[in-house]
């Protein structure tokens, strides 16, 4: 049985809709817990309005946020998946993006960076981004879409080994405070921290940590898992809540991903996945059946290349 471009297009179209409309359960549960604990009255009001908004979006089948962000895809191809053409897969993703943009409707956000020209369909040069990974001993294809805002809340800094954990905390605080003011980061957010790799890998790891792991998930390295908890507490101790009002609701959860890096450096990136954390995943099975979920399961042991081989 072969997986066809039609299967891919259907799956991608449906996850574009689901991501835009339905808040993932893990994030919803996280926000409900924060709302219960929030003592800042304005920050609490904001969280309460957001919970109303998630319900309205699902009831009306309308997008939870009108800023579509930059819709993009993460594709994980099972090593035994029978998909004849990866070019056809890519074309199907583009077609689904344009159709979902019109039908949901999603705001066409994509413009040329210099000439500001647009095609009203969220397609363009190098857009949408499609990132690829592979999984051994599997015959399915997983497609995840993420709609993340892009203007505020992410930053990169080259630190050095001597900066240590203190340096990372300093940078994390700088980023959260700078973008948390007036709520430009649309917090409380899932904060992703990328540590190591080359500069571009560092950005990519932090972005994936924010967007492709669910609230409550922990890094398999117990020491990194402890840091995730510590960074979350640090963010929530700033004194800033939703919209930058006095409060404690800044970080719903913190995820860290690492990559081996240059012996002299320690690059770090910080990313915030916002109050409208939009992600949805489809698995296209080898018989053409499509199943949907909200946990991308992107960081498999193979993905992290745990161990040396």
């Amino acid at each position: 049985m072969t997986i066809t471009a039609d299967h891919i297009e259907e799956a991608a179209y449906q996850i574009m809709k689901k991501a835009a409309i339905d808040i993932p359960d893990d994030y919803l549960t996280g926000i409900e817990a924060m709302a219960d604990k929030e003592t800042g009255d304005l920050s609490a009001f904001v969280l309460s309005a957001m919970l109303d908004n998630y319900r309205a979006a699902t009831e009306d089948r309308r997008p939870m946020c009108a800023d579509t962000g930059l819709p993009r895809y993460y594709v994980k191809v099972g090593d035994n998946a029978d998909m004849k053409s990866m070019v056809a897969l890519d074309a199907a993703l583009r077609k689904a993006t344009a159709n979902a943009t019109h039908d949901v409707p999603l705001r066409p956000n994509r413009v040329h960076p210099l000439w500001r020209t647009e095609h009203n369909n969220n397609l363009g040069i190098n857009a949408p981004e499609v990132e690829w990974s592979f999984e051994p001993d599997a015959d399915w294809i997983d497609i995840t879409t993420v709609h993340k805002g892009g203007l505020f809340g992410s930053d990169y800094r080259m630190l050095f080994p001597g900066d240590g954990i203190d340096g990372i905390k300093r940078f994390l605080l700088d980023t959260l405070i700078a973008f948390g003011k007036r709520g430009l980061a649309c917090q409380p957010a899932i904060v992703g921290v990328g540590i190591g790799g080359s500069k571009d890998t560092c950005m990519q790891l932090g972005k994936q940590a924010a967007c492709l792991r669910v609230v409550g998930d922990r890094n398999p390295d117990p020491e990194i898992a402890k840091l995730e908890h510590e960074f979350k507490e640090l963010g929530n101790s700033i004194g800033m809540g939703a919209m930058g009002f006095v409060g404690s609701s800044m970080v719903v959860d913190c995820h860290i991903e690492v990559g081996y890096t240059h012996t002299g450096g320690m690059p770090v990136s910080v990313h915030t996945f916002c109050l409208s954390s939009r992600r949805a995943t489809a698995r296209i099975h080898s018989n053409g059946e499509i199943t949907y979920r909200t946990d991308p399961r992107w960081f498999t042991p193979y993905m992290r290349r745990e161990g040396i081989t």
């Binding site: 009001f45 908004n53 009108a66 705001r107 300093r170 940078f171 405070i177 919209m243």
Partner: protein
Amino acid sequence: MSQATKRKTHHLTVPVSASDIGKLKPGDIVYLEGVVYTAREGVYDRVLGKGHDLPIPDLAPISNVNFHCSPAASQSEDGSYVIGGVTATASFRFSKWMAHWLDLTDTKIVIGKGGMPKDDYAKILAPRGAVYLTTVGYGTGALLGRGVVGVRDVFWLSDLGIAQAMWMFDVRAFGPFIVDSDLEGNSLFAQHNDAIADHINSLYEGLKPPALSRYGETDDRKDEVM
């Protein structure tokens, strides 16, 4: 949530009267009914920068509420518009246009994301009898989308695109919005920033200094990097 229900809430009719504006205090909640128009850099530049006439010469009697917004909209085959979600865009970028725009249109409420500099409230909005409301969250796109009951008109759609066109929305129970500035030029955001700022230095206490200094650790561009 008990705190959430305690806030003073105003249901205002657009065009909004001077006496209604005068009642708004920072932190109050507002819902609107009537007509709200969108205008951001595309519209400002066309009218104030390039000198085009307003598409409606006498705008204020229809709407004196300017929303910094780009809707998620699409056109149906019968020519009508489907409005899905409605979310504000960050207002600080439009600061330079505000004085002329308020003078030209007699707008009294500006709605957007994140507020504007406190000085703008004291020097530009308040003296013109105008206040700023912020959207909540900033992602209550579905609640605001529900509040848009119709598209009365849209101008310059083909020239400026969906995001930048001037939309005229018929709205009902349109909100919630939080009052940021009042007629005295106060700013809710600035008040909260000040309250949080007192505590910020203590967060860095005990963390060792960075190996290499750069912007972020120092704001003085003349400083050495190490």
